[in-house]
């Protein structure tokens, strides 16, 4: 897991990831926060295999997550905010519920 340098000059804020509470420094991107919390943050819409942040600059779309109910947000392009609810995405979006469902 990635770690925050101990000398960091930021307050910690709280967010949830798939319902679990986590903490990360204020001002960082959602993708950065995810890297400190989980080994992978998405399952591919094609094979269902795990994926995680890859480029951190908005070009690869491997860090897509659902943020506060809005799916397919580029986690590396969104700044983490206090109380954010982040959900990992598994496979193809289910339009009825607005969340994701299993591949089959």
């Amino acid at each position: 897991m990635f770690r925050t340098l101990t000398t960091v000059r930021r307050n910690l804020i709280r967010f949830t990831l798939d319902g679990q509470f986590h903490q990360a420094p204020a001002g960082i991107s959602v993708a950065a926060a995810l890297l400190t919390a989980v080994r992978f943050s998405r399952r591919s819409v094609v094979s269902g295999r795990g994926r995680g942040p890859y480029c951190m600059m908005g070009t690869c779309f491997d860090c897509l997550v659902c943020i506060d109910g809005e799916p397919n947000q580029q986690a590396c392009m969104v700044t983490l905010r206090e109380g954010m609810n982040i959900e990992t995405q598994t496979g193809i979006r289910d339009l009825d519920t607005g969340t994701t469902a299993d591949m089959d």
């Binding site: 990635f2 000398t7 000059r9 001002g27 991107s29 951190m56």
Partner: protein
Amino acid sequence: MKARYSLVVVGAGPAGMAAARCAAAHGVDVALLDEQERPGGQIYRSVDDSPLSDPSLLGSDYLYGRQHVAEFRNADIDYFPGTTVWNLDRNRDVSVLVDGKSRGLGADRIVIATGAQERPMPVPGWQLPGVMTAGAGQILLKSAAIVPPDDVVLAGSGPLLLLMASQYLKAGVGIQAILDTTPRSNRPGAVRHLIGALESASYLAKGMGLIASIRQSRVPVYKEVTALNAHGDEVLEAVRFNSRGRDHELPTGTLMLHIGVIPQVHLAMAADCEVRWDEAQLCWRPGLDQWLCSTVPGIGIAGDGAGIVGARASQLQGRLAGLQCVYELGALTRDQRDLKAVAIRKTLDKHLAIRPFLDSMYRPSPEFLTPVDDTMVCRCEEVSAGEIREIARLGCQGPNQAKAFSRCGMGPCQGRQCGSTVAALIAEVQGRKISDVGYYRVRPPVKPITLGQMGNS
């Protein structure tokens, strides 16, 4: 945001900030649109709001950005952070996404300064969680003070990889190993450019300093690495490779890859700006005149988005592009423009003198341009190099037909991670040149947007 500006600049990195500042200083009404929340681009990420207690570990080139960003913030520019440009057409109509809503604006002149992206480095297993670009690692350090676990392996070639290693060492990150994929055969070609590179001697000195600091650190460096691949079931577990004829395996959860950067040309291509294959840099770059004007009237392109030149040269190019806009908008005469450009060009030449050396010294190994069959080329749609080769053998003429036949490039990244590889594979199979094979036809939206946003509903 007004409905129309004299100049709209896209991108708040060194080139975009400089172009906007130059135009604003001459009284031009400028808007700068940037996808990030803060100015500086990737190179000066968070430079005026660093989470690090000691940002100097990132080096003096990074700290130089502070002043640039401060001056940019003080200039009379309508700056719109968090604003994604999803379309630009040849009539200079811009469509942006801001606060989740789409809106349009017009411009008399456009400067595209969208910078670079990491050159895709497709190796088997590069899609596994735990594998990321070295640039991603650097962004995490600059913007979040977040670092990988102490078993991290860095692999690839080029100045950024060395810089990254030295920054990690200063930050106290334990690097397990550095895998240097620079082919030995690059050296003779590079040496020929060494004399020219002396014009920008400070770059050479910095490079040697980085190499010395890595040597002192005693981090194992494996040379002439080939057959690199990432292994793991659900996530990365090990890296396997060959170095000077011997096979190795290193257990690790984090692998950072880097084989240089390439221009981000999608926005320019969406606007119909012509791009050309650059054999020295192995990338597509827009065709530009000496004032950085593209083939579409009123659209200029500056900085790494126009061909890789580095941060300082990008800033100078931004100024040139800015001057040209000011001239075209009638606020400078031709003579005034030319006079102001003399000193800029002189300094620019000094910064560019290192490029032929860097381009040949760190030219990526063919192994990463045309990867082995079981490598996933298109990460989004999971299309392998083997499948692209099979399609190429059918006679498929280029990346657009390959896309139609295999779905490669149809995912959300819109071909940014596979476009160059697909073209190289077709060229390899059919014995053609990449310049002849071509690139994807890039169409809007250049970043995915929702139907609700697109339809303003």
